[in-house]
């Protein structure tokens, strides 16, 4: 996948140096996965270069705006190996910078003149914010159920995956209902798989990036794997697990062999989701072409199983 330049200096006002500095730091070091997903679709659909750039920029702007707000809400000190914006530039600046990105999205998209795309993008931003809002209410909840987390992640994580897949078609004025239905389902499943895999990193499962362990649990948040592992345990044991500080402590509190068996079950459950995702890809293969379909089919390997390309 080629790298995409998400923005250039003309995108933000030159008379706001602090804002530009903040964005320079924020946009450096990210994988730009969402922009690359947009790129895959745009190439296959032969979308004009400026359309692709607009879409890639839009999704990265929304994603990074959500990171700015997310870090502040979660009180995360680090983002992409650097000090989080709210700590470095004050929370007020971080909020303003996030809001400004979302405003730019609307300015850029409305200039493109596709009202359906503007509407859909606004809906996705609403979903993201709803997800953020709801997730905050689950912090400290040791009895949260996996289905509830899934619903939050569908708003917070999957909405942008759906956007990456649907927006190129909308930009090219293809509003075929069946196609968008399948893309919507694919985005939901892919977002869910990505989130669940990300949650597994907390437990050092396929953690090739060396992400810090038990980050969610230490901040009082039961992520999808923690909720799945503990769903058959009593409330008291769940609360006790919330207090653990290290992974070995978690594994031993869960019980010998339990961690491995729950992980195997979790993987099996998600493999079924992958099969459903592949079914939806097959549904639209005739529209998106065999090449793109092939690439789409390989995404769960990358996003869930974390197999390097």
């Amino acid at each position: 996948m080629r790298s995409i330049k998400i923005y250039d200096s003309k995108d933000f006002p030159a008379y706001l140096p602090k804002l530009n500095l903040l964005y320079d730091e924020l946009f450096t070091g990210g994988k730009g996965f969402r922009a690359q997903l947009v790129h895959l679709f745009c190439v296959s659909l032969k979308a004009p270069e400026n359309t692709e750039k607009l879409l890639a920029q839009t999704v990265e702007f929304i994603h990074n705006a959500s990171l700015l707000h997310d870090d502040l809400i979660d009180k995360s000190a680090q983002r992409r190996g650097k000090t989080a914006a709210w700590l470095k530039y004050t929370p007020e600046y971080a909020v303003l910078a996030g809001d400004y990105l979302l405003a730019r999205v609307m300015v850029n998209l409305s200039g493109f003149g596709n009202i359906r795309l503007v509407q859909y993008t606004a809906e996705v931003i609403s979903d993201l914010l709803e997800g953020e809002w709801l997730q905050d209410s689950l912090v400290g909840d040791a009895d949260v159920q996996l289905t509830e987390l899934d619903r939050v992640h569908n708003l917070k994580t999957a909405s942008l995956f759906k956007w990456c897949m649907r927006a190129p078609f909308l930009a090219l004025k293809n509003e075929d209902k069946n196609l968008h239905h399948s893309l919507e389902e694919m985005g939901t499943l892919l977002g869910q798989l990505f989130q669940r895999s990300d949650d597994l990193l907390d437990f050092d499962v396929r953690n090739h990036e060396g992400k810090a362990l038990l980050g969610d649990l230490k901040s009082g948040y039961f992520n999808s794997f923690a909720a799945f592992c503990t769903q058959d345990l009593g409330s008291e044991k769940r609360r006790a697990l919330k207090q653990v500080q290290t992974l070995p402590e978690f594994v031993s509190a869960l019980g010998a062999g339990q961690f491995e068996s729950r992980l195997a079950e979790f993987d099996r459950m998600n493999q079924a989701k992958i099969e459903l995702y592949l079914h939806h890809v097959n549904q639209i293969e005739a529209v998106i072409g065999a090449e793109l379909a092939g690439k789409m089919k390989s995404l769960p390997d990358l996003l869930y199983w974390r197999k390097a390309k």
């Binding site: 709801l134 209410s137 949260v144 509830e148 079914h279």
Partner: protein, 360 residues
């Protein structure tokens, strides 16, 4: 021939009806796949995904029991018990066999209508976004929708048959219940479940219409007390319907399903639940002040309800989010409160019955 695996179909597909009703094969079933994509539900319910697999072989009894929704039977049995004891004490119970038949008829009708409702939810695709509420037998593929629909018709017919003697002896029952039953069946068929007026039907059916129906079939004739009892029982049932809708407020709102809770929103719904309960307390206080013969019973029941009102008020104030364990706990406690109230009323009514027997 449809192969095992996933299958996505549009409602306009010529084979869709066969697949959704389970008529496409003798040895395969197509189970509706759930999705957390609730927004734009109208569009989402037009194109459904199924898992096609070999039909699981299960005994008819096991399938039948799984298909019956017995958890809501107290909606019929509670008012029945109140009216029955009332008629025994009033010495207006004319014919025990007739009474028994009408009770069995009402139970069969409720089970049948619940089953028909489950089939409609499946066929309309509602189970796609509410898979947790789907009928167990349908979800497991033990019964196909068309089989379960037949099963529900048998139960409804049985209910009507068992109620027939009461209607012959007391034809006014038909005038009272008939039009509403017909309207609700038509509404159910047309998928009018997620409309606010359908909640009013629930209130009427499990409230005044039911208690009056029992009152008449027990031989007591029209009676204002029976109407009042119906208002109380219907109010409690409606409260439980609100609780269920409140529990799924987020999904129902995303899906644009229309009910009182989605209209009011989270905070408004919380307030409405408290007001609902307070109004029950007032109605029950009024009923007890008019009809209770024993001061101790009046104060006993009223005190229990008052304590529960305060508790429900406290629980709703603490509830901050439409999802999470706090919500689950609230729903559990509020439903338990309804059961406690019903239990207390039953205890008092049984005590009155025993007292009456002793005196007699």
């Amino acid at each position: 021939m449809i192969a095992n695996g996933y299958l996505t179909m549009d409602r306009k597909h010529p084979d869709f009806e066969k697949v959704i009703w389970g008529r496409f094969s003798n040895d395969k079933v197509a189970l509706l796949e759930g999705s957390i994509n609730a927004s734009g539900a109208t569009e989402n319910l037009e194109r459904l995904t199924f898992v096609v697999k070999d039909r699981p072989r299960t005994g008819l009894i096991k399938s039948g029991i799984a298909a019956l929704k017995i958890k809501n039977l107290h909606w019929v049995l509670f008012p029945m018990l109140l009216v029955l004891v009332k008629n025994i004490i009033d010495e207006t119970l004319q014919d025990e066999i007739l009474a028994l038949l009408s009770v069995l008829g009402a139970v069969a009708l409720q089970l049948g209508v619940e089953m028909a409702n489950d089939v409609q939810d499946y066929v309309n695709g509602v189970d796609r976004i509410h898979p947790q509420s789907a009928n167990r037998a349908l979800k497991a593929g033990w019964l196909r929708p068309y089989e379960m629909q037949k099963f529900s018709y048998v139960l409804i017919a049985l209910g009507c048959f068992l109620g027939l003697p009461s209607v012959i002896f007391f034809p006014e029952i038909l005038l009272l219940v008939g039009p509403f039953l017909l309207l609700s069946l038509v509404g159910l068929k047309r998928g009018a479940k997620y409309q606010i007026w359908s909640e009013i039907f629930v209130f009427l059916f499990f409230g005044p219409l039911l208690t009056l129906g029992f009152q008449m079939s027990f031989g007591g004739g029209f009676d204002l007390e029976a109407v009042f009892l119906g208002v109380l029982t219907g109010w409690l049932v409606w409260f439980q319907v609100h609780l269920k809708n409140f529990r799924f407020l987020m999904v129902n709102s995303q899906a644009s399903f229309n009910n009182s809770m989605t209209r009011l929103g989270f905070e408004g719904a919380k307030r409405a639940l408290v007001y609902w309960w307070i109004l029950f307390l007032v109605l029950s206080g009024f009923y007890l002040s008019v009809y209770a013969t024993d001061t101790l019973q009046f104060y006993g029941l009223f005190t229990v309800e008052m304590i529960l009102t305060i508790l429900i008020f406290g629980w709703t104030r603490k509830l901050m989010s439409p999802i999470g364990s706090q919500m689950q706990e609230f729903i559990k406690r509020a439903n338990l409160s309804v059961m406690i109230v019903m239990g207390c009323w039953i205890a008092v009514w049984l005590f009155n019955y025993l007292q009456f027997q002793t005196l007699a």
